[in-house]
């Protein structure tokens, strides 16, 4: 659906490029995670893909054509959820969504979206009176208001409590199951692990890694099995190489003869990969 080649971008007044020749692509029906520490080019890349920022170097191909060749009608199928709420604070939630829906030739039904996000009861409240979490949910609803085929989401669960974050993540998964495509920008590795088919890590304007979360975890993890077992009153640990496991008699002896407490593979977490790849701790 999108193919990005050697994308470069420099903000006016900056000496260095913010985006330094990145290349990646994602397909229809995919949730593609774009991950990286704050200020390293995630949001800039989203702004380039959504044409908020122009004058870039390299090439962005959307549905087989240069992104620059499209007119504004391209946005009838595109939903964009910005990191900050983009809402009229003096209008109510309902007025906001109706205003935005009127900008598009087609639109989604407002009631089911607001009900799912737990905002239906507050639909006639002015947005100025909304909490941060409510604004964040309404911002997500706004991105869905044109019934898009592709969603660009920048930190969609930011400021949400676990229950509402769960609802938003379920809605994103549901969107993909119905054939939608998602470009997800975040630094919350838990969201990525749950949602993304593939991820790219960006740091200092360069892509450091692209793969599926599963592959990354296997690649960056250790091929080993760690056991914890009881030896009388003590808790003992043993580590076995996964590749030679089937011939390892000690492993089977422990399995048969000891009370096991835990068994873990050496698969790593996305958090650890994030730190390794970007050199920065994720803010989760």
């Amino acid at each position: 659906m999108f193919k990005v080649s050697d994308l470069r971008f420099k903000y006016p007044g900056n000496k260095e490029d913010t985006i330094k020749g990145i290349s990646f692509g994602f397909d229809k029906g995919e949730i593609f995670g774009f991950l990286g520490p704050s200020g390293m080019g995630k949001s800039t890349t989203q702004k380039l893909l959504t044409r908020i920022l122009k004058n870039y170097g390299g090439e962005i191909i959307y549905r087989g054509k240069d992104l620059k060749s499209y007119d504004k009608s391209i946005f009838k199928d595109v939903g964009v959820g910005f990191e900050m709420p983009v809402l009229f604070t003096k209008l109510t939630a309902m007025e906001n969504l109706k205003f935005y829906r009127d900008l598009y030739p087609k639109g989604a039904k407002i009631k089911p979206i607001l009900e799912r996000l737990g905002l239906w009861e507050d639909r006639n409240k002015r947005v100025a009176a909304f909490s941060k979490g409510m604004k964040s949910r309404l911002n997500f609803a706004r991105a869905l208001i044109n019934d898009p085929e592709i969603l660009f989401l920048d930190e969609p669960t930011s400021g949400l409590d676990p229950t509402n974050a769960r609802i938003v993540k379920d809605m994103i998964s549901g969107f993909r199951e119905n054939g939608g495509t998602v470009f997800l920008t975040t630094h919350l590795m838990h969201d990525v692990d749950e949602l993304c088919d593939r991820v790219a890590f960006i740091a200092d304007g360069e892509i450091r890694e692209i793969s599926s979360p599963k592959n990354l975890k296997l690649r960056y993890g250790k091929r080993e099995i760690r056991l914890e077992y009881r030896e009388g009153e003590r808790l003992e640990k043993a580590v076995f190489d996964m590749d030679t496991l089937k011939e390892n008699e000690n492993f089977f002896k422990l399995l048969r003869g000891k009370d096991l407490v835990t068994i873990h593979s050496g698969e790593t977490t996305l958090d650890e990969i994030f730190i390794k790849v970007t050199g920065v701790k994720s803010d989760e």
């Binding site: 006016p12 910005f82 983009v86 809402l87 604070t89 003096k90 007025e95 009127d102 598009y104």
Partner: protein, 240 residues
């Protein structure tokens, strides 16, 4: 779509005490002039008849600046709320979005100007002048709205800018006291030409350098050109 858009705008304006006051400011001022001027004339036994055209010109220009401020503040609110980002990623272009605003600005300013003149009702104004002069002056209201957004990033700064842009109406007023060639020193002020055309229409027995059709078209072309130039700068400033 257009009706719905105006309704959303109207709701935003009426929910803001300062904007809703500005919306009716020139009408209130016109009502004050209607009763205040005859009252002052009677009280001080002094006729202001020779200056009625100036009173009307002041109210006309205040209408334009006040409605310009309504739109200017509304745009400032949208900038605060980051609405322009959402418009950027919609099928509606920035030019259409803003163009519609400035069209509303012009129409509202025109209606307010004509109604204000009718409320003041101090002197007879030929119909052609009553209908045409507000066109030129109302075209200035969008310039005023953009001017507020050039230098202000919030409404407090915007209010200061509105007052500054309001000061510009003083120059054409001063120019109304001149009828010789010296009046053209004020020709750089966009409303000079419109208020001079108003003066010609209201004072048929006074000698002016040009006739109504000498002043009026220059004013309209000047303000239209100013809108184009100022819009280009405004667009750069607001989008970035």
């Amino acid at each position: 779509m257009a009706i719905k858009y105006i309704m959303y705008e109207l709701k935003k304006w009426l929910r803001d005490p300062m904007i809703s006051f500005l919306l009716f400011y020139s009408l209130i001022l016109a009502a004050v002039a209607r009763f205040g001027v005859p009252f002052a004339e009677e009280k001080f036994n002094f006729s202001l008849e020779a200056y009625y055209h100036i009173v009307i010109a002041v109210i006309l220009m205040i209408s334009a600046v006040a409605i310009g401020a309504v739109i200017g503040f509304s745009i400032l609110d949208d900038r605060d709320d980051k609405i322009l980002y959402a418009v950027e990623v919609s099928p509606v272009s920035f030019d259409v979005f803003m163009g519609f605003r400035f069209a509303v600005c012009f129409i509202l300013s025109y209606i307010t100007s004509v109604v204000s003149i009718l409320i003041v009702n101090l002197a007879e104004i030929p119909l052609y002048a009553l209908l045409l002069v507000p066109v030129s002056v109302s075209l200035f209201s969008s310039v005023s709205a953009m001017f507020v957004n050039f230098f202000a990033s919030n409404k407090v700064e915007g209010f200061a800018m509105m007052k500054a842009s309001g000061m510009i109406i003083v120059l054409p007023i001063v120019s109304m006291f001149f009828t010789d060639f010296k009046e053209f020193f004020f020709g750089f002020e966009p409303n000079f030409w419109a208020v001079k055309a108003l003066s010609v229409a209201m004072l048929p027995n006074t000698d002016f350098n040009l006739g109504f059709w000498g002043y009026y078209p220059v004013g309209v072309i000047f303000v239209l050109a100013l809108n184009i130039v100022v819009y280009k700068i405004f667009k750069k400033k607001v989008i970035n």
